[in-house]
Amino acid sequence: MSELLVKEKQVTVPGEVLAEGMDYLPGNNTYREGEKIFSSKLGLASVDGRAIKLIPLSGKYLPKEGDTIIAEVIDILMSGWRVDTGSAYSAMLNMKEATSEFIQKGADLTKYYDFGDHIVCKITQVTSQMLIDVSMRGPGLRKLTGGRIIRANPNKVPRIIGKKGSMVSMIKDATGCRITVGQNGVIWLQGEDPNMELLAVKTMRKIESESHISGLTDRIKSFLEKETGKKISAKEGEKNDVR
C-alpha cells in the first residue's frame, strides 16, 4: 500500500519522507531509498500523477545553455571579456560574439564593454567542467545603461516573470518602468519617476518572499493598485511586452 505523506505546495526539508511505497516515482530534488522517497532540498512538494518533485525555494543560480542572463564585466582579456554570471562560475564573451561590427585586433575593448558594465547576454555553451560561453548576438541582447541592478533569488525568476511574462508586464504597466529580468536573478530597472522605480523594486521583493503562497497574482495586483491608486488589468496568458 503506497502512501503520499506530503500535501501539494508543502514546504519540505532535506531528508523528509515524501511518500512510502513503490507506486510513486522520485522526480527532481528527491531520491528513493528502499520503499521511501525522500526530499533532497528545501523546497515545495509538487505531485504530478505518480511523480513527486520538489520546486526549490533557494539556491544559487546554475548556468544553463540557452538562458538569457544579466552579467557584469569583471575582466578584459586578449580576446574578449570575462563576465560574472551570479553563479560560482564566470563566463567568457568572445570578441566575435560581442557585437555585429568587426573589432580590430588590439582595439580598446573598454569602448564596447567596460569594467562594471552590465550586459544582457545569452549562454551559448556550458561544459561539464562549467566553462561557459556567452553571446551578445540575438534580439534583446545589449549593454544596459542607466537604471539600477537588483539581485533576486534565481529560483523565483519564473514567478517574477509570470505566465508568458504576465507578472512583469503588470509591474511595467503599473510603474511605467523599463524592466529586464535575467534567468540568473539579476534584474535591471529604470523609471522616470524614482518613486515608481522604488515601487517596482518593492513589488519584486514581495514576489520573492510570497511566491510560495497561492493567490500571488491577485495579491500583487491589489498591492500595485493600492500603491499607485490606478486600476490595473491583469492580462494573464497574453503577450503584453509593452516596452
Partner: protein, 258 residues
C-alpha cells in the same frame, strides 16, 4: 568602479531621494538591545537597517604601565568575520577593521567616556582593563556608526566582575557599573558628487567620493574625526558635514535611552 551605479545614485539624489527611498539625511531604522551575551561583562546589539553588530566588553586585571600608574586601560578591537559579508575574507584583520576599531577607540578615549582613573585598584599594581570587541553579524553598510553606537551601549551595559585574590572572579558579577563620564558616538557623513548623505547603503559606500566620521559627546563637542575616501574635501564641506554629524548624533543618542 561601477560608473552606472554611481550615475544612477547621483541622479536620484538630484531629485532628493535615495536608492531605498530615504532622504539624504535620514537613518535607516536603528535599534539598540542591551545585554545580549551572558559571557561578556557588558554587551549590546545594534541594528541599522540590515546591518547588525554585536559588541561585548570583557574586563581584565593588569599591572598599570609605569608612566600612568594610577590609570586603567582601554582596548578596542573589531573582527570582520566572513560570516557577515561575501566581501570579508578569512585571515588576519584587514585594514578596514583596523581603521574601524581605531576610530572608535579614539572616540571613546578622547571624549574620556570612561574615567580611567577610577579603574585603578592599587596604584602601580592593579588596574582594570576594558576590552571592547566588535563583531558584525551582517554587514550592510555603515559599520562605523553601528560600531560606535554598540560600543558605547556595551560600555553602559557593563557590570564589573568580582575580584578574588587579585584575580578576576568572572562567576560573580557585582552591581557596579563602569565609571562612564561621557556618551561618545559617531555619525559618518558621506559625499557623493555634490550631495551629502548619512548612513550609506553598501551600493552607496562603493561609489562615495569621501566620508567623514564625526564622533561627538552629549554636549555636541567633537571628540574624534576621520576622513576617508579618495577625493579631497573643502573646508566649507567639512563644516557642513560636522554640522550634520552633530545634529544626527543627538538623534542616535536618543536610541540609548530606553
Amino acid at each position: 568602479m561601477n560608473k552606472a551605479s554611481r550615475k544612477h545614485i547621483i541622479e536620484l539624489l538630484d531629485k532628493g531621494i535615495r536608492l531605498d527611498g530615504r532622504k539624504p539625511d535620514q537613518y535607516r531604522e536603528v535599534s539598540v538591545e542591551f545585554d545580549v551575551t551572558r559571557s561578556a561583562e557588558g554587551s549590546a546589539r545594534v541594528k541599522i537597517g540590515d546591518t547588525e553588530m554585536i559588541t561585548g566588553v570583557k574586563m581584565e586585571l593588569f599591572e598599570p604601565y609605569p608612566d600612568t600608574p594610577d590609570q586603567g586601560s582601554l582596548m578596542v578591537g573589531a573582527e570582520f568575520s566572513p560570516m557577515a559579508s561575501p566581501e570579508f575574507e578569512s585571515g588576519p584583520p584587514g585594514i578596514e577593521s583596523i581603521e574601524l576599531s581605531r576610530v572608535i577607540d579614539r572616540g571613546i578615549r578622547e571624549s574620556q567616556a570612561i574615567d580611567l582613573k577610577k579603574l585603578c585598584l592599587k596604584k602601580g599594581e592593579l588596574c582594570w582593563m576594558v576590552v571592547i570587541d566588535m563583531a558584525p553579524i551582517n554587514a550592510a553598510g555603515n559599520l562605523f556608526d553601528a560600531g560606535a553606537l554598540s560600543a558605547i551601549a556595551a560600555i553602559k551595559d557593563t557590570k564589573l566582575p568580582g575580584i578574588k585574590d587579585d584575580q578576576v572572579d568572572y562567576d560573580n558579577k557585582t552591581e557596579d557599573p563602569l565609571p562612564v563620564k561621557k556618551v561618545a558616538l559617531s555619525v559618518t557623513v558621506c559625499k557623493i558628487g555634490k550631495h551629502l548623505i548619512i548612513d550609506p547603503l553598501p551600493e552607496e559606500e562603493k561609489v562615495i567620493d569621501a566620508r567623514l566620521t564625526v564622533a561627538t559627546d552629549e554636549s555636541g563637542e567633537l571628540c574624534a574625526l576621520q576622513k576617508g575616501g579618495e577625493e579631497p574635501l573643502s573646508v566649507e564641506e567639512i563644516d557642513k558635514m560636522v554640522e550634520l554629524g552633530i545634529e544626527k548624533g543627538k538623534e542616535l543618542r536618543a536610541k540609548l535611552e530606553s
